[in-house]
């Protein structure tokens, strides 16, 4: 019987290192493999993360935190789509043997088939690494954050506004082992850092609000003072908003706002399997079932959005700052407005004999297509609106990809090329495809703030989402549909 004290003395990682290194990750993988029964297809992930973060409200720091955690996930893939998963955050030998034992049991053929047998190895891809690491972020000390926050809140305090915000330094590592049904083995290791800072500045009576934020793999790329000043300036500029009629307006979407529409488009490139979901549920890029060809046809190769716009995913792009997971090659979703890639899961890729462009957790992307400054967009607008940010977006009609949501943290009326007044927020009802086919001007692609929840045990037993960084341009679009005014600032 294993002595638990020995285990802890010898095998417990030094969490003072903040994240697990490559050798520790591989040791854990080997330990799991020694217990797993010889079912061919298996995926092991050893993930670790550290975060140091500070939260403030009403110009005062409310709490500063330092957190580390580990996630060990064993996923076994069987024929006919049987898949089992066992997860722990304990890396002593006893726990690792236990989690492997659970995964062994769950492979019992008693469980019914879930999807067609792929006969396809879905994840034999290189894991990119090294493009998203910053020592500055990793070595961030609590005192440095405190000094920065004091600077961020000083101006708001002196001018009697209320600032709330969040500053985070983050590091994560992943050791990823896969073995396909033919016995091909791959072990990969990667690590990344990420930093984010955002601030919301409000008036004390709650009648105006401004927001700004940025995220990057490197804290050096985040100008906290500029974020604080931008949020404050927006709050000041948003004072005394007037109510104007809802309607269709020429609208300038700042990058944080336009990103919401691009995210919808990218999410929709995940092709749902017709075998699982039936005809008519293949999403907006599906055309339907072609009886002659005996296959499902899509809009691949057709123009779907403005011909100046291209959307790509490149894990090696440091401006995105994304972890290499799922570690695929660069993907071009849309090139010059033409749909060029639909992402699949393994089963569909097998049936269609396409590249296995799996979609899971591919939340990062970059949009290119122009270089027009926002100032020029404003100057060229006779009457329109400038939108800082959108919120609460949800579908109202999935088949036409019609969504609704609200503007927030700054909305301004533009008249004859200049911003003339702050405006009460609107609810909008619009389709990303309408928006992206009615583009007048396109700005330069810039990284925007886009944090994602990294850990969600309950929802899916999947603990670790990829860091989602997006780089998008501001857009000037025609006839954007604002349907009603709202009370919120």
């Amino acid at each position: 019987m294993i002595n638990s004290v020995d285990i802890c003395e010898n095998k417990t990682p030094d969490m003072g290192r903040k994240i697990l290194g490559e050798s520790e990750g591989k040791r854990i993988v080997q330990s799991l493999l020694s217990t797993l029964s010889p079912i061919p297809s298996v995926e092991l992930k050893v993930m670790s993360y550290w975060t140091s973060n500070n939260k403030w409200g009403r110009n005062k720091v409310t709490i500063s935190s330092d957190t580390q955690d580990v996630i060990v996930s064993v996923t076994r893939n069987y024929d006919h789509g049987r898949r089992t998963q066992a997860v722990t955050n304990q890396i002593d030998e006893v726990s690792l043997k236990g989690v492997a034992g659970i995964a062994n049991f769950y492979g019992n053929p008693f469980w019914p088939a879930r999807e067609p047998d792929t006969g396809f190895s879905p994840r034999q891809h290189a894991l990119n690494e090294g493009a998203v690491w910053s020592d500055l972020t990793y070595n961030r000390a609590p005192g440095e954050n405190a000094n920065l926050i004091a600077t961020l809140t000083r101006e708001s305090k002196e001018r009697k506004f209320l600032s709330a915000g969040y500053l985070e330094a983050y590091a994560g590592s992943l050791t990823w082992y896969t073995r396909d049904k033919w016995g091909n083995e791959t072990t990969r290791f990667t690590k990344l850092t990420q930093a984010q800072c955002s601030a919301t500045v409000r008036t004390t009576d709650g009648t105006s609000s401004g927001w700004a934020g940025a995220s990057s793999y490197d804290l050096a790329h985040i100008d906290g003072v500029a974020i604080a000043m931008k949020a404050l300036d927006k709050c000041v500029a948003g004072l005394n908003p007037v109510r104007i009629e809802p309607g269709r307006y020429t609208t300038i979407l700042e990058p944080t706002a336009s990103a919401e529409f691009f995210k919808l488009v990218v999410n929709l490139t995940a092709r749902r399997q017709p075998e699982m979901f039936g005809i008519g549920n293949g999403g907006p890029f599906a055309i339907g079932y072609d009886k002659a060809l005996e296959r499902y046809r899509t809009k691949l190769g057709l123009k779907v959005i403005d011909e100046r716009i291209s959307i790509t995913h490149d894990p090696m792009d440091p401006r995105l700052g994304t972890l290499g997971y799922p570690g695929l090659d660069r993907i071009e979703y849309v090139v010059n407005g033409v749909l060029t890639t639909l992402t699949n899961n393994g089963a569909h890729a097998s049936n269609e004999l396409t590249q296995d462009t799996i979609y899971q957790e591919r939340e990062s992307f970059r949009v290119d297509g122009g270089s027009v400054p926002i100032e020029e967009m404003i100057a060229s607008t006779k009457r329109g609106l400038l939108v800082t940010r959108l919120w609460g977006i949800e579908y109202v009609d999935i088949s036409s990809v019609l969504v609704t949501g609200t503007t927030r943290d700054g909305l301004w009326l533009i008249e004859n090329g200049v911003i003339t007044k702050a405006v009460r927020n609107f609810r909008f009802t619009e389709s990303p495809f309408f928006v992206l086919n009615n583009v007048d001007l396109i700005g330069e692609s810039v990284p925007v703030f886009n944090p994602v929840n990294r850990r969600s045990v309950l929802s899916s037993l999947k603990h670790f989402n990829a860091i989602a960084s997006v780089s998008v341009p501001a857009l000037k679009v025609n006839d954007f549909s604002f349907t009603s005014t709202i009370d919120a600032i």
Partner: protein
């Protein structure tokens, strides 16, 4: 390095090792296998003195360095996810979180390692995080003492513990429900979740708190997606009895789930028989069912009465509140008609947020958030109870402790999440939906609407299955109908509430904080008749 593993705890506690058929262990739990079954024993002893020692090591380190107060949360959480057609998944995690108060500043540190050495490191790290913010000197902070009932142990009742039952029995019970669904025509798909949780929680503080509890909970939801391929009719209804609750498998096996599925199925078939009309735009009196009223209660009252939101501490995260000056609005601000009484609790045995103590060591009490339509109490925590509108210390500003502080696991610092809520019925109100509907001569009805509010919880949007009502009966279904509303108006326009007989529990989740955490609560709600609701065509653009 000395570490307490779960197995050690079992050895010194219940001593159950060796009972397994095969003897593999997942941490402390003997996992018993035979060819086709699994039983995951869970006799983990959260009261073990070794666990207290770890907590003490955290506290001693922080206090010896100069912290005025320190508390520790230790969680060991097991999840067993059961898919309808896929194999199950098991997750188990351990967390240790330490919070220290130094000269008015909070520091927090957490990790997955339960050992004395790690406890010392976390105690020091929490202290260091707090002191790093001392650049402007010490400050006074509001932190109410929670002295009463500081030591105790509680186990949430469970009749059929899924972690003790043969797993095939668990699987059969869940799969049997889905087999029942698969025999119903026109159900294209189901969106379902069934995850069982067993969570051992320990809370320890430098004030002498030593509270341990075991939460046995089931997180479940079931939405039926209908598609009549012959007519093209579609729709979706949730089965509200298939919901998150305290307890184990009995919460799903002993409820009339199949009858409720059949009821929703029959209702959809009846709905399809009604003529389809375009959404009518304008103001109408309407019936909103329990599901809709529960969601409305949760977001427009529950979230809005969280004091941290109202004071702006969540302005950069989950949002703020239309209650902009809570101290002066208490007792005077009219939120709804005099019929509206909404209380909060964490003691309802049907409520998923129920606990014996919250994550600041407070025994939860019932609070009357809305009394006869007037704002009566805000939700607070020990941190926020004595705070003024400027965020400064102000003694006894918001009444008594409530126990609404939540840390989903020890990894997260605690914040105020909305507890279980109760929209109280009208003692003389209608005893059924039919009776409530029959009182409406001309109007609309919304069934199971999806509701979303802006980040200030002030302006809302809802859509769902909508009907036209004439002479107290559904006469047509409305295509793409939804409503727009203001929180301050919709509660004032409630003219009729269902009686106690119409109460139904709906479980909901809430995401909050930075970094974002998630917690759950249950709303016990009755249906309502609301006048002058603004109906729109949700697909109509400007």
């Amino acid at each position: 390095m000395m570490k307490i593993s779960r197995r050690d705890v079992v050895k010194s506690g219940a001593g159950l090792l060796g009972t397994g058929v095969l003897g593999l262990t997942l941490g402390a739990q003997p996992v018993q296998f035979d060819s086709n079954s699994i039983v995951i024993s869970t006799d983990f002893d959260i009261q073990d003195p070794a666990i207290r020692e770890i907590a003490s090591a955290c506290i001693d380190t922080a206090i010896s360095r100069g912290a005025k107060y320190c508390d520790v949360r230790m969680t060991f959480t097991k999840y067993l996810g059961v898919g309808a057609y896929a194999a199950p998944g098991l997750s188990e995690t351990m967390e240790l979180g330490v919070r220290a108060l130094v000269d008015g500043y909070w520091g927090f540190a957490s990790s997955p390692i339960w050992s004395r050495e790690e406890a010392g490191r976390l105690g020091a790290a929490a202290y260091d995080q707090a002191t790093a913010n001392l650049i402007d000197g010490p400050r006074q902070i509001a932190f109410r003492s929670a002295a009463e009932e500081s030591i105790g142990h509680w186990v949430m009742p469970v009749e059929q513990d899924p972690f003790r039952l043969n797993f095939n029995e668990v699987y059969d019970a869940i799969n049997g429900i889905h087999q029942f669904i698969s025999r119903l025509k026109h159900i294209l798909d189901t969106n379902r979740k069934t995850v069982f949780q067993k969570q051992y929680r320990g809370f320890f503080s430098s004030d002498g708190h030593r509270q341990t509890q075991v939460l046995n909970r089931t997180f479940a939801s079931l939405v039926l997606a209908f598609n009549n391929r012959e007519t093209g009719d579609t729709g979706g209804f949730s089965v509200d009895s298939y919901r998150s609750s305290p307890g184990g498998l009995e919460t799903l096996r002993d409820r009339p789930i199949r009858e409720d599925i059949q009821k929703e199925y029959d209702e959809m078939i009846e709905t399809w028989k009604l003529p389809m009309k375009p959404a009518e735009i304008g103001r109408f009196d309407a019936i909103v069912d329990q599901n809709g009223m529960a969601k409305l209660t949760s977001c427009s009252i529950g979230f809005a009465t969280e004091l941290d939101r109202a004071l702006g501490f969540e302005a950069n995260a989950s949002g703020t509140s239309y209650i902009v000056d809570p101290a002066s609005m208490l007792g005077t601000f009219v939120i709804g008609s005099s019929k509206i009484n909404i209380s909060a609790n964490r003691s309802d045995l049907d409520g998923i947020a129920t606990v014996a103590w919250d994550d600041e060591g407070v025994k939860p009490r019932r609070s009357q958030l809305i009394k006869n339509g007037i704002l009566n109490e805000m939700q607070t925590t020990r941190e926020l109870l004595d705070i003024d509108v400027n965020g400064d210390y102000s003694k006894e500003k918001y009444g008594e402790l409530q126990g609404y502080s939540v840390s989903p696991t020890g990894i997260f610092a605690p914040v105020n999440y909305t507890p279980n809520l109760h929209l109280e019925g009208d003692a003389s109100g209608p005893v059924s939906m039919n009776e409530l509907r029959s009182g409406l001569d001309k109007g609309m009805e919304l069934k199971q609407p999806h509701i979303s509010l802006d980040y200030q919880q002030s302006t809302g949007f809802a859509s769902g299955t909508a009907y036209e009502i004439k002479g107290g009966k559904r006469v047509s279904r409305l295509m793409n109908a939804g409503i727009l509303f203001r929180s301050s108006e919709i509660w004032n326009n409630v003219v009729d509430l269902g009686g106690k007989e119409t109460e139904m529990c709906i479980s909901l989740n809430q995401k909050k904080g930075e970094p974002e955490g998630e917690a759950h609560h249950t709303v016990r709600a009755v249906p309502a008749r609301i006048k002058d609701l603004t109906f729109i065509d949700i697909t109509r653009k400007a």
